[in-house]
């Protein structure tokens, strides 16, 4: 270790996960507050001990949450810019606040309710004459008139080129979907627990070539919250600390809006955008990819898991397909178990926070699909426009 961890995740909490829209009549903030209370219970602290809020993807209204929960005093409230790419870095933002003496118990959370007018799959549909609308800016004119509206369509363009450059096969994307489904089957929290066969995969309808139904995330409702505090404080609380070994976010400037604009340099067009984040993450923690015991990789679309496997150095660039097809990401038998919780594809999609949740359970030793003697877990934010992010949690300080 290059430095002794000064912060840790001390509590995790969540609501049940619902099919999109099915959480109504619960409200989004109700679910957020229930997840926060559950995380406090897990940590063995009172909700009244919370004084910090660290978000991503636009954040939430701390004013309302603090008023609803009667937080005695808010001393820190901030959010990363960007979208789901920042998921794991919300914890890092909280950790920075703690290191800076600005807060003692910081909540990071996501709450999601995808009612028919709030489905992310049409996120970039311009107003036109449809019932859907998104605030539009001049750069969107260079994609939206072509009907490039959804993140899945955008990721398909990257996947297509990855296949072209490296001979990556749909069988590799299938293996990601199939292995994650296998992991989800044993979990009571999973939304999908029917096994997928290779035949099922190839029979599934295509959504945007080369991606079929099983390559796509689910759409869910629910909330997940985590409590970050100082390492010293965490050692006195109910559960074993999940030490923050490293947290990094950002990306190359010219990664920029990434697949929302398709202007990334050729060198890393077919990537997850995570390479520079991965480099800083490993440097901070003083470890190498070989030291990671379990990888919770944001899986909105299966090819982006493959590209993260490359970008985080579990195999060489371009070799992700063969690496995955050889069984390397399987729980129990693979060299680097990936998405032991089933991920967005099969457990639930709460914009990256389920990955943080699973990383904590893995280093505590309390995961359903527990990786034996897991010391270090990696959780990532979405391959997305800047920032992307990564978080390394450790069992030991």
């Amino acid at each position: 270790m290059t430095r002794t961890p000064t912060t840790a995740i001390a509590g995790i909490g969540r609501t049940p996960y619902f099919k999109r829209g099915a959480s109504v009549p619960r409200t989004k903030l109700q679910m957020a507050c229930q997840a926060i209370k559950a995380a406090c219970e897990d940590a063995g602290i009172s909700v009244k001990d919370i004084d910090g809020f660290a978000y991503y993807s636009g954040g939430f209204d701390t004013a309302r949450i603090a008023q609803m929960l009667g937080i005695p005093e808010v001393t820190f409230t901030a959010s990363l810019t960007g979208g789901g790419g920042g998921a794991s870095a919300a914890v890092g933002l909280g950790a920075m606040a703690i290191d800076a003496g600005q807060a003692t118990h910081v909540v990071s959370l996501m709450t999601l309710q995808q009612t028919p007018d709030a489905r992310l799959g049409a996120a970039f549909a311009t107003k036109g004459k449809s019932a859907y609308s998104a605030p539009s800016e001049s750069h969107v004119d260079f994609v939206a008139p072509s009907g490039l509206f959804s993140p899945g369509q955008m990721m398909s363009v990257l996947a297509m080129r990855h296949m072209h450059l490296y001979g990556t096969r749909r069988e590799a994307f299938a293996e990601i979907a199939i292995s994650q489904r296998e992991n989800a089957i044993k979990r009571p929290t999973s939304r999908f627990t029917e096994p997928i066969t290779l035949e099922d995969y190839f029979n599934a309808r295509m959504i945007s070539d080369p991606l079929c139904l099983f390559d796509y995330t689910q759409e869910n409702d629910g909330a997940v919250a985590v409590i970050t505090t100082s390492a010293e404080r965490a050692r006195d609380l109910r559960k074993p600390p999940a030490y923050v070994l490293a947290s990094a976010h950002g990306g190359k400037g010219r990664w920029g809006l990434a697949y929302q604009q398709m202007q990334m340099p050729d060198e890393y067009f077919t990537s997850s955008g995570h390479r520079p984040v991965a480099k800083r993450l490993y440097e901070q923690a003083g470890i190498t990819p070989a030291d990671v015991d379990v990888a919770l990789l944001y899986d909105h679309f299966s090819p982006m898991v493959l590209m993260q496997i490359e970008d985080y150095g579990f195999c060489e660039i371009g070799e992700g397909g063969a690496f995955v097809e050889a069984g390397n990401i399987r729980y129990g038998t693979g060299t680097i178990p990936v998405n032991t919780h089933g991920g967005n594809l099969s457990e639930a999609y709460i914009i990256g926070m389920t990955h943080v949740y699973e990383a904590v359970e893995q280093v505590r030793g309390e995961a359903v699909n527990q990786v034996e003697d897991a010391e270090i877990a990696l959780a990532t934010g979405g391959p997305a426009s800047i920032p992307t992010s990564g978080l390394l949690l450790g069992r030991s300080a």
Binding site: G121, A122, A125, T126, K127, G128, K129, S130, A131, Y132, S136, E137, S138, H139, V140, D141, F142, V143, A144, P145, S146, G147, L148, F149, S150, Q153, S156, V157, L158, M160, R161, H164, R205, M206, I207, S208, D209, P210, L211, G253, R254, Q261, M262, Q263, F269
Partner: protein, 144 residues
């Protein structure tokens, strides 16, 4: 022309939010010309137009006319309509095109008037102009 693609419903999404730097691009498209921002100082091409050169920090940018010939860098075939208005539109091809004469700037556009399965990475394409209405023209592509 107004393409079949536009007529099927995609034309409804050609609602532009033009700003100072993108206006020359759209004005030229209206005249059936394709112009790409190029740095006066270092020659770098960029899209979308922004008024800044990411390469040399220059702010002197001119519009350079290109032929509209290019090559498919990557693409997808959209088969699922993400909003109901797209039900009559699918399937359609969205391509990312490397333009001849403007290396480094990629133009996103549909490849029309062909079977979607005919499109490949590396396919040669040329621009066509889709006159949506009295004000808006969208560049799209056909296989060359």
């Amino acid at each position: 022309m107004r393409s079949e693609l536009a007529q099927s419903g995609l034309g409804d999404f050609a609602v532009l939010n033009v700003d100072t730097f993108t206006k020359p691009f759209w004005d030229a498209a209206r005249e059936h010309r394709l112009v790409i921002p190029q740095c006066d100082d270092c020659g770098t091409f960029h899209l979308p137009p922004s008024g800044f050169c990411y390469e040399c920090d220059g702010e002197s940018i001119s519009m350079t006319e290109v032929s509209g010939a290019g090559e498919v860098y990557s693409f997808t075939i959209v088969r699922h309509p993400v909003v109901p208005a797209l039900v009559p539109v699918v399937p359609y091809v969205i391509a990312v095109v490397d333009l001849d004469g403007a290396p480094g700037a990629r133009l996103v556009g549909n490849v029309i008037d062909c079977e979607p399965e005919a499109v490949r990475i590396g396919s040669k394409v040329s621009v066509v102009y889709d006159d949506i209405d009295d004000e808006v023209t969208i560049p799209r592509f056909v296989l060359a």
